[in-house]
């Protein structure tokens, strides 16, 4: 399956109301991240850490918008506290676009990604955060399903993106 092009990815998210994004880059979605920075229809703030991105993007809720963050899964650890003591208790939805390094565990990817690569889904499950593992095939339906759950439950949600799914 051909990877999703940056223009297609952001075009679809913009059509779903995502216009305020903060994040930390990852090589999983290098071109997609680069195109985010230059997208005139998205306000992008380059965060200094993943929890900072989450704090920033959460502000969009109060302007009746859906904020998004884009991070590497190593940063899941940095957002656990703000998720549990902020977004989940105040019920503030934010779309978390997460590059899935270390998918499948060792020997894939570098050693520092082995454990989080294996544990990323189970951490999200433990926190009762809805998530989808994105595939290029049928990605629109997958994202729409996640956004519907996030809206109905007023919860943050995550898209886990493996290498090769988006450019």
């Amino acid at each position: 399956m051909t990877p999703i092009k940056p223009y297609t990815f952001w075009g679809f998210l913009k059509s779903r109301g995502v216009h305020f994004v903060s994040g930390v880059p990852d090589s999983t979605f290098k071109q997609t991240y680069d195109s985010l920075i230059t997208d005139d229809d998205i306000t992008f703030v380059p965060a200094v850490r993943e929890d900072v991105a989450l704090g920033l993007a959460s502000a969009a809720y109060f302007n009746d918008r859906l904020g998004a963050i884009i991070i590497q899964n190593s940063g899941i650890g940095n957002v656990v506290n703000p998720l549990t003591s902020f977004n989940l208790i105040y019920r503030i939805p934010v779309l978390m676009i997460i590059g899935w390094r270390g998918y499948g565990g060792p020997p894939n990817d570098a050693p520092e990604h082995w454990i989080m690569g294996d544990k990323s889904p189970s951490i999200l499950k433990t926190l009762d955060i809805p998530f989808e593992s994105l595939e290029a095939d049928g990605f629109k339906e997958s994202i729409d399903g996640l956004l519907t759950t996030m809206t109905e439950k007023s919860l943050p949600g995550a898209l886990l993106i493996r290498s090769g799914v988006v450019q």
């Binding site: 305020f20 903060s22 306000t43 703030v45 380059p46 965060a47 200094v48 850490r49 929890d51 900072v52 991105a53 989450l54 704090g55 920033l56 993007a57 959460s58 502000a59 969009a60 809720y61 109060f62 302007n63 009746d64 918008r65 904020g67 506290n81 703000p82 549990t84 003591s85 902020f86 208790i89 105040y90 019920r91 503030i92």
Partner: protein
Amino acid sequence: MISRIHAIRIIAESLQKNDLVVSTTGMISRELFITDDRSGNFYMLGSMGLVSSFALGLALLNPSNRVVALEGDGSALMSMGTLALVASEAPRNFLHIILDNESYESTGGQPTITNQIDLAKIASSCGYQKADRIENGDQLSVALTNSRNNPGPRMILAKVGIAPVKNIPRVTHHPIDIRDRFSNAVSNMLPK
């Protein structure tokens, strides 16, 4: 030196209707809550260190409102990277107030490191338009007035004493009620 609750009273008196205030976890939110429980206050009950990034997002999205991030030295030290980001994004409507008692008072008064570290100097060197270090109530009033009449981002670092308010209640609003009240306040302030 003034007490923190006294500083919060002076800050509360200086607020205008359209100001959005985000206050940090622990005693600072509780003291703001008992001083002036206004709809434009967002009490961040947990997530120590997150106030400044959330307030930065609000400031960028609501450029016609003044946004005040109200936190302590412990919280500011936890997210020093955000000082650089605030300076880099440079919202003119951003006021960062740090009530610096050189301690984690909410957890029992353990010392921080701000007896040696000047957060106002750090904010200045990051690129805040102005960072006032103030030591008494009169200086605080002047700094608050100046912050309203001049472009931000600005910081007011208020050195305050350790003086716990006895029997201070927790914020009694449910988090979702805090969210919805603040959300309504932001909506009602949007330019018509």
